[in-house]
Symmetry: C2
Amino acid sequence: MSTFIQRLATSCRARESLLCVGLDPDQALMAIPDILDFNKGIVDATKDLVCAYKPNLAFYEAHGSRGIVALEETVSYIRSVAPSAILLADGKRGDIGSTSAHYARALFDVWEFDATTVNGYAGSDAVEPFLAYEDKGVFVWCRSSNAGAGEFQDVNVTTDRAGRRLFELVAERASAWNRRSNVALVVGATYPDELATVRAICPDMPILVPGVGAQEGRLRASVVAGMDALGRNLIVSASRSVLYASRDPANFQQAARGAAEDLRRRINGVLEEEGRGW
Amino acid sequence: MSTFIQRLATSCRARESLLCVGLDPDQALMAIPDILDFNKGIVDATKDLVCAYKPNLAFYEAHGSRGIVALEETVSYIRSVAPSAILLADGKRGDIGSTSAHYARALFDVWEFDATTVNGYAGSDAVEPFLAYEDKGVFVWCRSSNAGAGEFQDVNVTTDRAGRRLFELVAERASAWNRRSNVALVVGATYPDELATVRAICPDMPILVPGVGAQEGRLRASVVAGMDALGRNLIVSASRSVLYASRDPANFQQAARGAAEDLRRRINGVLEEEGRGW
């Protein structure tokens, strides 16, 4: 069985793309009302352009069990039409170990995601049940993309040495957790300086970078700060800017494809300028 | 409409109980295999003894959409047989604001919980969508009950002043978030000293204290450290020690009732010793 890192690399290379599309179906914005039909439309329009799809679990839970059925059907559909695309669950789960074990079972055994985002607030033993799935990717939420990100994540922490912020400690611990080479990180595109800091702490780890679209994170700065030495192990994720590029049922697929093509082209343009093209 | 704090007080007073039972249905341990039937059995056996029920969402997700249906049916059942019991969702949700809004919708509008646990790692704007439901309780995960809790939560943070740990900063921020009187905290029973520290920072806030059962948190120390000046605003939660007191289908209800009665009696004994009886 190939490792998560290998499968991610294969998926990126196959489409020459570091782009991930977040599947965040919002009833108030969708061009067509049915979640599964909407997701199928987005996937059909973008599947040759992206390395990964990232369903955000909140948007499915917001419809109760019916939404979770739509999530399950979406996963099945992507597996059937884009079998090599990475399926990344975005739920920021994390609790004490005995509970995390059940979240991991849901994400990896039941829904069969390739990877998930996790919240490491409770420490190593709370993350371990996810890490135990060694062929799955575990993306530790390190520096969030929102305005209030710094409230806790930027506080200076003094443990063995001074002058370090909490998110840096999280990145260091994530590095220590990486014995099975299945750990990755989430760092928002809205903070390229912090992204560069994290990349320096974890030179080889995949980093998921949300926030380049509606959140207006800077794409060029994020790619330069976030890529590894070979210009890889970076996943640039956009959701709203692709999904809701048009809210017209007649052309939302074309518009989503156009937005995804544009992002992929711009990301690849930066890689080429940096001498790291495909 | 009464506030969450008022409803919690009413529910506690009606049963003279600070006990909450966590509904964490684990297929490997349940006396009977069906989640809904099992939960009904536990609720029927304990509904006159507890102030709250706390379904842990991980245990439902672990069964996919079928598990979420069982969660929804469990909530409906509790509403029908114990209408004044507090229904507290334990999911430790938290993400950037636009995502938290969808989690809040799921928990409060769709599943109609009275309260939820949240993870505040992303800061104020990420918690605000939960707080916006002013009649619902928002329990900020402050100090977890697991062995690795201190890895991040106990690091010394230096912001405006030194000598403070991260979980203390979280408690201080939670206090600042409490403009609508709907904020509460989660602090594990396994750490009574830290619980006393949090109670000193937030003298009036409800505190949910998990970990007195299978995790072997000290009950007496937790009640003394966690209660407010009047001996209230404390919710002592047990899951495994009640649910799996017996794994025999013939007597699991009696055994669960016995375990819940024992915990309630011991908690009330401590309150009386402290001059804070009902």
